[in-house]
């Protein structure tokens, strides 16, 4: 048995090493995806990160209050401030030309009416005006409005405090400032097993996601070799040599399992050492042996699922072209609905429910359980069981399809 399996493993390994397209799909594609997507989505995973949308403040009031508002907005520092729009027309032209995404116009009399917005003198207060680039996402428009409202509230509170102090003759401490900086009143905390972990970053989301995607791409080399074997009569010859089909399958499982594990190692190294060279945060693997074991268990289950899926596609397809199309499109669909290409939390509720059907989503959930929530083996067990069930069903279907094909020929 062992000599036969060794021969099968060696053959698969040599064939894979000579399959340049297969290697490209397995190793280069995920490296590029990890780099590009980690950098592209870096800010989406960083709370308080600078938002790549610009705004200008057009101060037509030039009062102390408008200056305080301007200062508070600058301190928020989420949006990119550009101070070249001196007047309303220039601001409007800049938004129209796409140089600015937003322009906040502070009307004349803003300072005077700061505490009497309803118009105590009978005249209604002129509101702040927000000039918008219509292409700016509604979420960012809302975020900026909220920042302005928060800054406005702060300026009003400062003004009230100042006036109340004066009214009641309260002493003002030396060096005290009306626009005092308050410490952050909201602190974000990622909920996980241990307490000393930081928030997930783009690289921690993207490395496992694209690793899973790449692992499932073993469908290309596996089906390519399998279909050659079938079309050239090599499977028949192997049968005539007394080689059972289950051994043919076993001969493919181990080499590609090893390939998947090499992929996992390389993608982790890409996340740890290559991604930081491009200015993003380095991937952090779990630090304890128990968590590393859980991580590897998920990786092993993903690998079994990927190889079994590839064998099913190879058994279904009649030509290499069919296998490439069915396997490739199948992987892209599983990735699209499984939160690989678009993070699941961005999806609407219905799509998130659909994601639960994708083996890639189960795999990603497993990796996230270890990497983000620092869960152990028992925590990743549901994901592993789902993946193993998928593997088993795919293998049974592959064997059944091959038996059926054989029966049709006989």
């Amino acid at each position: 048995m062992s000599a036969r399996l060794l021969a099968l493993w060696l053959k698969e390994s040599i064939a894979l090493l000579r399959d340049r397209h297969g290697l490209l799909a397995l190793f280069i594609m995920p490296t590029i995806f990890i780099l590009v997507m980690t950098l592209a989505l870096r800010d989406s995973f960083t709370p308080g990160a600078r938002i790549d949308a610009s705004y200008a403040l057009v101060d037509l009031d030039q009062s102390a209050s408008s200056a305080a508002l301007s200062k508070r907005l600058s301190k928020a520092a989420s949006f990119n401030r550009i101070d070249h729009a001196g007047n309303l027309d220039a601001a409007r032209a800049a938004v129209l030309a796409g140089r600015l995404n937003l322009a906040l116009v502070v009307p004349p009399g803003f300072g005077e009416r700061l505490l009497t917005p309803g118009g105590a003198d009978g005249k209604p207060a002129e509101p702040l005006t927000l000039l918008l680039d219509p292409a700016l996402s509604p979420a960012l428009q809302l975020a900026f409005r909220n920042q302005v409202m928060a800054a406005l509230g702060g300026v009003r509170a400062d003004e009230l405090t100042h006036k109340a102090g004066k009214l009641f003759g309260l002493p003002v401490a030396p060096g005290a400032s009306a626009d005092k900086d308050w410490p952050d009143e909201i602190r974000s905390e990622a909920v996980r097993r241990d307490s000393n972990a930081s928030l997930p970053s783009s690289v921690q989301q993207n490395v496992p996601a694209w690793l899973i995607f790449a692992m499932f791409f073993v469908v290309i080399p596996i089906s390519s070799i399998f279909i050659i074997e079938r079309q050239h009569g090599t499977l028949q010859r192997l049968r005539a040599m007394g080689l059972p089909f289950r051994l043919v399958l076993a001969g493919k499982l181990l080499p590609f399992f090893v390939v998947n594990q090499v992929q996992a190692l390389l993608m982790v190294l890409v996340g740890m050492y290559l991604v930081p060279l491009f200015g993003s945060e380095a991937l952090q693997l779990p630090s304890t042996p128990a968590l590393l074991l859980a991580w590897w268990a998920v990786s092993a289950a993903v690998s079994l699922a990927a190889v079994a899926w590839a064998l099913l596609i190879a058994s279904l397809a009649k030509t290499s072209e069919q296998a490439t199309i069915v396997g490739g499109v199948g992987n892209i669909l599983m990735g699209a609905i499984g939160g690989i290409m678009v993070p699941k939390f961005i999806m609407p509720a219905a799509m998130q429910q659909l994601a639960a059907l994708s083996p890639m989503a189960w795999a990603l959930e497993g990796f996230h359980t270890v990497m983000l929530r620092h869960g152990g083996l028992t925590d990743v067990l549901p994901s592993i069981m789902q993946l193993l069930a998928f593997s088993l069903l795919s293998l049974v279907a592959a064997v059944w399809l091959n038996r059926r094909a054989l029966a049709a020929r006989s």
């Binding site: 000599a3 036969r4 021969a7 060696l10 040599i14 009569g233 090599t234 010859r237 005539a240 007394g242």
Partner: protein
């Protein structure tokens, strides 16, 4: 000795059986030719002998043992060389041989000896490091054959082993195959090339539509039991002559006429001349396999 006794086989959903009660006696240590047109049932019979199919009826025995028992006792006893190039184009010649030798359970010195021997037999020394997919048609056929010889089989099943090769490679392959019985291998050789079968086989069976039309020593089959004149006329053969000589039509104005003896030939030609039948072509004497097949089926082997 391989005995095929009343074997039938029908493919699923096929209108007619591929083999109908085939019986053959294949002696050990020679080359046995299975001749027949495409679709005659040759590959089905080879698949049954290789264990790829199981006969619905009948028995197959190798050296007195049921085929399955004989294969179980010695898995390398029977080797198949399929019509397709059944190896890995991305692997080199040596890698292919090493792989198939491994599948046969060979290892260590035995593996090396068998690979070297197969390479030498098929004269593949110059291309051992070349990928199989880059070989010419003739070299691929040689590699296909070499793989079949790795296990030193007692029975080698060759299914159309010369299809698609140039004349030089065909000649080499036929020479190589002809040398196999001397090494103790019995060869079953299927082909629809009569000249190949005539060149290397000692025993043959002609199969058509799943039935054995004739089986025996090639020389006996070629030697007609009664002289037959194959003749092409310029007009229809007169009915009385046709009846007297049990004529069979083998084409337009082509006839095979049985004669009682060779001496009858001049008399028949005179008679034809008297009736106004002009002779365009005639042959008399030992038949070739094409003529034998035509006589048996009224069809050309290549139809």
């Amino acid at each position: 000795m391989l005995v095929v006794d009343g074997v039938s086989y029908r493919y699923r959903d096929a209108a007619s059986p591929a083999l109908q009660g085939i019986s053959l006696h294949i002696p050990a240590g020679g080359i046995y030719g299975l001749l027949g047109p495409n679709g005659a049932g040759k590959t089905t019979l080879i698949s049954l002998l290789a264990g790829l199919l199981t006969a619905a009826d009948g028995k197959i025995a190798l050296h007195g043992q049921p085929l399955a028992t004989a294969r179980a006792a010695n898995p390398r006893a029977i080797a198949l060389v399929p019509q397709d190039y059944a190896f890995y184009p991305m692997l080199t010649v040596t890698e292919n041989l090493r792989f198939f030798a491994g599948i046969l359970g060979l290892s260590g010195a035995a593996l090396k000896t068998q690979i070297d021997s197969a390479i030498a037999f098929a004269r593949l020394e110059q291309v051992v490091a070349k990928r199989a997919g880059e070989l010419s048609g003739g070299l691929r056929r040689r590699l296909n054959l070499a793989i079949g010889l790795l296990g030193q089989p007692q029975l080698l099943l060759l299914d159309e082993p010369t299809v698609g090769v140039d004349p030089q490679s065909r000649h080499f392959l036929l020479e190589s195959i002809a040398a196999l019985p001397a090494a103790g291998t019995t060869v079953i050789y299927t082909s629809h090339y009569m000249e190949e079968v005539e060149a290397i086989c000692q025993q043959i069976a002609i199969i058509d539509q799943g039935k054995v039309l004739t089986e025996g020593r090639l020389a006996d089959i070629l030697a007609s039991p009664e002289p037959v004149l194959d003749i092409t006329l310029d007009r229809e053969l007169p009915a009385d002559i046709a009846t007297r000589h049990t004529a069979s039509a083998s084409g337009e104005l082509k006839y095979a006429l049985k004669l009682a003896s060779t001496a009858e030939l001049p008399r028949l030609l005179d008679e034809l001349a008297v009736t106004g039948c002009g002779v365009r072509q005639l042959s008399f004497g030992q038949h070739d396999l094409e003529q034998v097949f035509m006589r048996l089926t009224n069809r050309s082997l290549r139809d």
